[in-house]
Symmetry: C3
Subunit: 470 residues, 3 copies
């Protein structure tokens, strides 16, 4: 594992830039090459799932590899050339070597009349076919005549590859980060997610944490299905997580809720975004997007949301050659990473406390916790202590108090430590953690997420529940 720093927007953009030129697809050497490149930063393990294997309603496709592709004009020019841009060939195109008149060729071409200088991205992973994508301005310059088409690709038994990294914590409860690695030269739509996920894993590699963290770098759809199939018995350990994608464009940070909409992930991510950027958005779940489609299908229903900037199909350059390294911006990548880190921090440090001196306010002054000359409103740290003492009846966590009071989570965390050291607060984490272990969901249960939520409310004897309305 590289010891190099991987924190700044510039460094994140550097990782994306290394990954950008590679011709990735759902399978093949492009994915392997990308994952090995990431392995320079984090100790990713590569998994190979053989072609033809059944994966729920799907099967692993033949492995696709490509060496070259071109359209040669009647006068012998490589007017559409895979070597110039890997978007020029429809992904998963079967091999072809033929000559045909322009009219026949036209049926194999894809271009964008509204953006004549952009090359579109097209794929035909699940139907044998072939085709080319080209600038509309090129297409319009084509003259009648015989064209040679040449695609030097192979579709053959092989395997689907994904990368995985588990960073063990003090418990087996897991937080999952998932990013897709199946697109060719599209910068925002897959290298930005890979770069942020890599940097996050790099940051998480040191130190002791409550949760185990699992990173999956996999091809979209069939890749996440393969991973789900491999890990079905232990999905019940997942307490929270994010699908990471489209994290470098200048759109505002956006959190897309999980299918359930009120899981631990939703609560924490919603809070995190409100702290990172007042212009950020929280949007509802929908079954269109990236691998949240699979992770949140009703048979799994994992407590996973998605962190994104623009949504898919939400910016004009989406799935075109204009989604390039100029679209993704170092400061946007860095802010996306910061959101992930705060997400982890809140998950790790959230806890419930009980006030050990609950009758009236304890005297902070005699413990050196409070200014003793009265008459002025207490400062932020003192407000944090007052809130914590007042709310700590065992039913509310630091995050609950942060959301109710407006006092930042970090300030509350420090105040909690000071109050603990003065013997005024006791953390309830221990018993809660024990209970959480006991309640680990059965393998394959579709309700893992809710267990995490429910166990978080443990130690009910101390909790003073909300009064039912009359």
């Amino acid at each position: 594992m590289s010891a190099a720093s991987l924190n700044t927007g510039r460094e994140l953009h550097g990782v994306a830039a290394q990954l950008y030129p590679i011709c990735r697809s759902i399978t093949g050497s492009g994915v392997r090459q990308s994952l090995r490149l990431i392995r320079r930063h984090i100790p990713l393990v590569l998994r190979e799932i053989p072609s033809g294997g059944a994966v729920f309603d799907w099967e692993v496709p033949l492995e696709w590899n490509i060496e070259d592709a071109a359209i040669v004009s009647p006068d012998g020019e490589r007017i559409v050339d895979f070597q110039q841009h890997n978007l020029h060939v429809v992904s998963y195109s079967e091999p072809v070597a033929a000559e045909m008149p322009l009219a026949a060729l036209e049926e194999r071409l894809h271009s964008l009349p509204d953006h004549p200088s952009w090359i579109p991205y097209r794929t035909s992973s699940y139907r044998r076919s072939w085709g080319f994508c080209l600038r509309h301005e090129t297409r319009q310059s084509l003259r009648p005549g015989n064209y040679r088409v040449d695609i030097k690709s192979s579709l053959a038994p092989g395997s689907l590859t994904y990368g995985e990294l588990v960073i063990p914590g003090r418990t087996k409860e897991e937080v999952l980060f998932f990013t897709h690695v199946c697109h060719p030269s599209l910068a925002n739509d897959n290298t930005s997610g890979m770069a942020v996920a890599t940097a996050l894993a790099h940051w998480l590699a040191s130190g002791s944490r409550r949760y185990s963290y699992r990173f999956v770098f996999a091809p979209g759809t069939i890749g996440s299905l393969c991973w789900l199939k491999q890990n079905e018995p232990t999905l019940g350990r997942i307490r929270a997580g994010l699908v990471l994608g489209l994290l470098g464009d200048p759109g505002a940070l956006t959190y897309k809720r999980s299918r359930e909409g009120d899981t631990l992930t939703d609560t924490v991510a919603g809070y995190v975004l409100s702290q990172i950027d007042p212009d950020s958005n929280v949007i509802q779940f929908s079954p269109y997007g990236y691998d949240e489609r699979q992770l949140c299908s009703p048979g799994f229903n994992l407590p996973i949301g998605r962190l994104t900037r623009s949504v898919n199909d939400g910016y004009p350059q989406y799935h075109t050659s204009a989604d390039d390294l100029a679209l993704i911006q170092p400061d946007c990548l860095e802010q996306s990473l910061a959101a992930c880190k705060l997400f982890v921090t809140v998950l790790e440090e959230d806890a419930r406390y009980v006030n050990l001196s609950p009758k009236g306010e304890p005297r902070l002054g005699k413990r050196g916790l409070y200014g003793s000359v009265g008459g002025r409103s207490p400062a932020a740290r003192e407000q944090a202590m007052l809130w914590l003492l007042n709310q700590s009846d065992g039913s509310k966590s630091l995050l609950d108090v942060a959301r109710r009071s407006g006092v930042p989570f970090g300030v509350l965390r420090e105040a909690a430590t000071a109050l603990q050291q003065s013997g005024l607060l006791r953390e309830l984490g221990g018993s809660s953690r024990a209970r959480r272990r006991r309640s680990t969901a059965e393998p394959g249960s579709p309700r893992h997420g809710s267990r995490a939520n429910r166990s978080k409310g443990g130690d009910r004897r101390l909790a003073r529940r909300k009064r039912g309305k009359q």
Copy 2:
């Protein structure tokens, strides 16, 4: 039953125009004549409830009939003439033949100073009295002198008449449509409701449906109480329904919630209005209005709301001669009918499904359900399939999915059929329907409506319930 079409706004206005001239009241030949006119379109059954019978806290009044009424001026002119407009006589006026000075006559007159050319509508159904309504401009022209008043009416034992039609469905669960038929020449305030109810029943007459549909055309208040009394043992079958009234004026469509506010009717009607007209309104229940006052009294508490355009007393022409055939508009009547039809359609076609391939998205492409060249966002029908597959864990109905996703109900319905045919969805209707029959409420129970709701949630083993918040 007429085979004639009864769908267009023009046709609805025609029905209203036939009904408009008749002098209806709470009892008497005007109601019977109106119901017989409606019987030309739908096979209404007329019920007669004898005068004097006790109906809860009320009793059926004497039957009122009127032949003629007039005020004759000192110089012998019929200056206020029932033959000119039936609003001229206070409804339920007892017979009178007398001569009196202007000062004494004044106490029997009703007019509208703010609208001097309109005749007001007044009734005195439950206190023996008599009186005349006239244009304020006429009233101001009256000179001192002796006036003759003549009301050729009768108040005698007879009966109260209402019309009823039951269109049986596959189950005995009922949907009720209720409209009042007790106002004389007021177009919006009762002929519009009668016309829409007639056309809706006409539309419902053919085809097989899940629910049985019951239409009641009855005088307001005492008429609905009579109907409630007659049907008390089977009120428990009512699952949903609407009071129909004021459906022709140009005000925006308005749904007034049931007393409970969250019944099946409220959910469906709220959705229907959002689809029919973005300017439509949903308002809270109040105990002022039409027969929802009786149907939603605490002793019955039926799951019935009201479909209206303007609310009662919500337009200046309300209860005056200006509520005439020019106020009600063909396109408004047609839109009101369309809302009723969509209400029925959603009630009939709503169902819960379970995804039979719930682990990940099933492969739509290999079943011919999905475009197989990727890279573009799926079209509306494909979005509908993704939503259905994702949400169909047995706990959510088509209507739930329509409200969450924004995909129109009809598009979801078609997608559900396609997915069922491909073996990907199974409808849960069967078991739900069976359970619903078992749970039919006891006669007279004031909680019928809630049964419908609760049974709708049946087959709980399959339902994945919303997670409790921590």
Copy 3:
């Protein structure tokens, strides 16, 4: 007890003006003098808690009294003089008689650069110290030289004093009003609360009421803790209550919720403010403020909110000499008192009823309750009757109906009486009251408040509960 009227803003301002000059502190003769002055209006009982006694995490401080204090300039002038304004000395200053150069004196001075003509208020109750507060303009005029400082105070064993008044009701269930009495010459920030509490107690002294009313006039923090300690066994009787403070300034009336946020107090006070002033505010609980900090600490969690106008630290004159008798305004004091009275009225008169003729609307006309000539919308009182009859299924109280319907509470109360007299409604209060007695919380239980709420929902057999959503 004085028989004099104590209702008008002018009279309230007069009480405040009598209390204003007294040098109050947490302990000492100023508090006793103030409470004796209040005893001219209401039969307050004075309680003395000896110095040094333990009170939860605190102890009762030594009693502080002061005779005189001054800073004498090098040329012999009393340039800062306690006799001129009692804010000039830091409250709880220990005795001192010394001479010192200006530089040393500076460390003992407090002034407000932004408001150079105002004297700040400072206190050092829990750390032995001394100091002076002065106008910044005075401070800036000080020339180098030797200053004499003289504080003729005493800190000696004695007691803390608070005043208490219980006005017994038909039940032992209590409503608590709490106001602080520990500030010297600050008009809004403590004499306004004392004046309103005194007038409210005066108004409550006559007549028979359901609840017992308890008034506490006590020093802030340690005073409320002493009272809590003395009354811990019977805190379970408290059903509702308000901390009263800052009730004379021209800011809008503001209700600060209890810690739980949904107690009886919160419901009633929120309604009261909406009726008294459309510009009033309801704000969330926070653990910064007056004695709600202690009463709503997690170990007591009483159903107590706070009635205030500006919040503490919410107006520039707060805790300065500019919080004087000119800041508090007769009409504001009077409006604050009116809110307290309506709070009591709603608490006393709220009740649940059951409609004894629940099937359809009963005939109001034959009982003389309703205009019998129809055609016009019923007036306010008739609307009140319709709402009551419709909602009175035993589950909803007058206040529930007032909030839902918009009909004022008082109009509903009168309508309820008329309907009761006609035999159409029966009050459920009796059984509810009995049940409430049985369910009185154990001494010291931290959940007293919720009992009140729960018992309010009694007589469940008659209640038709809200239908569960599917």
